[in-house]
Amino acid sequence: MATFINASKRPTLALPFLLPSCESASLELRRCQSTYRRTKQRLRIKPDASFGLSSDKIQDHIIYNPPSSTSSVYETPTKFLPPNDVRRALRSDAPSNSQNVDELPPASKSSPEKRYHLTRSDVEEIRKLRLSDPMTWSRWKLAKRFNCSPMFIAMACEASPQKKEIQKQVLEAVQSRWGAKRRMAREDRELRKESWGRDA
């Protein structure tokens, strides 16, 4: 291979920090650091422990070493396969590493248990309050009073048109104070959010 048999112009031993400690003997004939052999040697990294055979026991099966990438969307999860699909039986034999599912931390707050405690009269009351005084009885206050979620208030009734108009003006007033940078950053954030649903 590309081993250059040139006499070096300058004493390599003057730069000892560049030299790997093991091969100082043969370095007089090398021209520079980045020879093929040395690059190759640097890349010779010991493989991960899970990759090779363990020394104590001899294995003769195929090693399954899942990559760190996400799986293809064309590979249907086992739960989504129809009951008569062959792959369901095939995958049940495969070793599953789902023992630690319960130990994994949740990614979002768990939604509270649904109570279904509001009656028809309560919903009527919510509608009446929100229509009568929309400034006082906001969604959050109504939710707090009736001990339900603001989402339920939104499902039960809608704000009056006057309140919507006021809220729109408030939003416009806030947005009018934004500069170009903040406005663009907000728009970019919306665009990025939309792209979540498109990508794989």
């Binding site: 996400t70 799986s71 969307v73 064309y74 590979e75 249907t76 999860p77 086992t78 739960k79 989504f80 396969l81 129809p82 699909d85 062959v86 792959r87 789902s98 599912v101 994994l104 931390p105 949740p106 990614a107 979002s108 768990s110 959010k193 939309e194 979540w196 649903g197 498109r198 990508d199 794989a200």
Partner: protein, 403 residues
């Protein structure tokens, strides 16, 4: 069941210029070609009778000169065109498809309004074949796809843009202006004037009722009934103004003319060489194109949709769990979130925030549901082969998640 005699059909359905002949002779004796886009008025019967005697004594140079009178090349020119023979060989078309029919496939209705000499009838048949084959392929291969994705996939496979790209890849050149003296190996159509805004006027005259109500919601399910195979509005058939059908047609774009060419070639192969050859042509030219179906999806609320799906299918409610994370306090954290239903992982997503990773994981789970494909895919048209196994019903899904 006995197979249909397609060869016999083709002689009755197709009428080539060689057999009719009368129209060609009529055109030979009319005057010089006008520099107008409208087709020439046909001479009356008395003119024809009067000129018949002078025509019989006509010489070859006169005949060559009056070729310019025809709206599209005569049938005899097909055998002399090098371009046409090259196209036939390049596409590896069956030898039972004659060059004359291939020449007719290249004549659009805007070039020659006579339905006996343009490719309208062939394109109609070819379009039906193409949409039948591609829709059965998509529906049988991916039985759970939502309707919008099916429409998008059909459009991607046999839509006008794809067919125009195919014609470019085939190396078919466009004639500058159609006419009898043009090489029959060129695609002949009358072009729209440059600068014309094609999509300016709203579409009127569709088969859909209450089409003037633009604010009304048009559901995707109604597209199955009213719209074409891409979910686009389809125009209602208009009664032809001229009973012979030879009224001048409006000019078309190069894309529309390319579409009719591919469809007409498909129809011509079906008529001349049979169903097997048509299916082979479809597989080699349409199905061989790569389409990544997973890119056609666009979810607006993937987490909610997945929850509805699991509730519908009686699975445990999906729960998002952090599989791994790095740099939570840094500027660029990376979270790997998996969505689990009970013990089973439905999907996995990577994102810069927990919300993003959860959303992407839900998208992956939904795509995993919708892109389910059975192991042995068989389409209904495969039972048409002689000695084919009887048809077994394919997997039919409940349908997409409706929130």
């Amino acid at each position: 069941m006995k197979r249909l005699q397609l060869q016999r059909w083709s002689s009755s359905v197709l009428s080539s210029r060689a057999r009719t002949g009368g129209r060609l002779q009529r055109h030979l004796y009319s005057s010089n070609r006008f520099q107008s886009t409208a087709s020439n008025p046909l001479p009356s019967e008395s003119d024809l009778a009067g000129e018949q005697s002078t025509a019989s004594s006509g010489s070859t140079p006169f005949l060559k000169f009056t070729k310019r009178q025809l709206p599209s090349p005569p049938v005899q020119a097909a055998r002399e065109s090098a371009k046409l023979a090259a196209l036939h060989a390049r596409l590896y078309l069956p030898s039972r498809l004659p060059l004359e029919t291939l020449a007719r496939c290249l004549v659009d209705a805007s070039a020659d309004p006579d339905p006996q000499f343009n490719n309208t009838s062939l394109a109609l048949l070819g379009n039906d074949l193409l949409s039948n084959y591609i829709s059965e392929h998509i529906v049988c291969t991916y039985p759970r796809l939502p309707l919008t994705v099916i429409f998008a996939a059909v459009y991607a496979y046999i839509g006008p843009k794809t067919l125009a790209a195919m014609v470019r890849e085939w190396g078919v050149e466009h004639a500058a202006f159609p006419g009898g003296e043009v090489d029959p190996g060129l695609l002949q159509f009358k072009r729209v004037a440059p600068g014309t805004d094609i999509s300016a006027e709203p579409i009127r005259g569709t088969t859909r009722p209450n089409e003037d109500q633009t604010t009304w919601r048009r559901s995707i399910t109604s597209s199955v009934v009213y719209d074409n195979e891409y979910g686009d509005p389809v125009m209602a058939p208009k009664p032809p103004a001229d009973p012979s059908g030879s009224s001048p047609q409006p000019p078309v774009t190069a894309e529309q003319a390319s579409c009719s060419l591919v469809r007409a070639v498909m129809g011509a192969i079906y008529l001349h060489a049979g169903r097997l050859a048509a299916k082979r042509f479809f597989e080699q030219h349409i199905l061989s194109r790569h389409l990544n179906l997973s890119e056609l999806f666009n979810f607006s609320q993937p987490v909610r949709d997945l929850a509805r799906l699991c509730a519908r299918e009686n699975y445990e409610q999906p729960v998002a769990k952090i599989i791994s994370e790095t740099g939570r306090k840094s500027r660029h954290p990376v979270f790997v979130v998996g969505i689990y239903s009970g013990k089973d992982k439905l999907g996995e997503g990577v994102g810069g925030s927990l919300v993003e990773a959860r959303s992407r994981a839900a998208v992956a789970a939904l795509k995993g549901w919708y892109l389910y494909s059975p192991l042995e895919v068989r389409v209904p048209s495969s039972t048409e082969e002689p000695g084919a196994a009887p048809w077994k019903p394919v997997y039919v899904d409940l349908g997409e998640v409706i929130v």
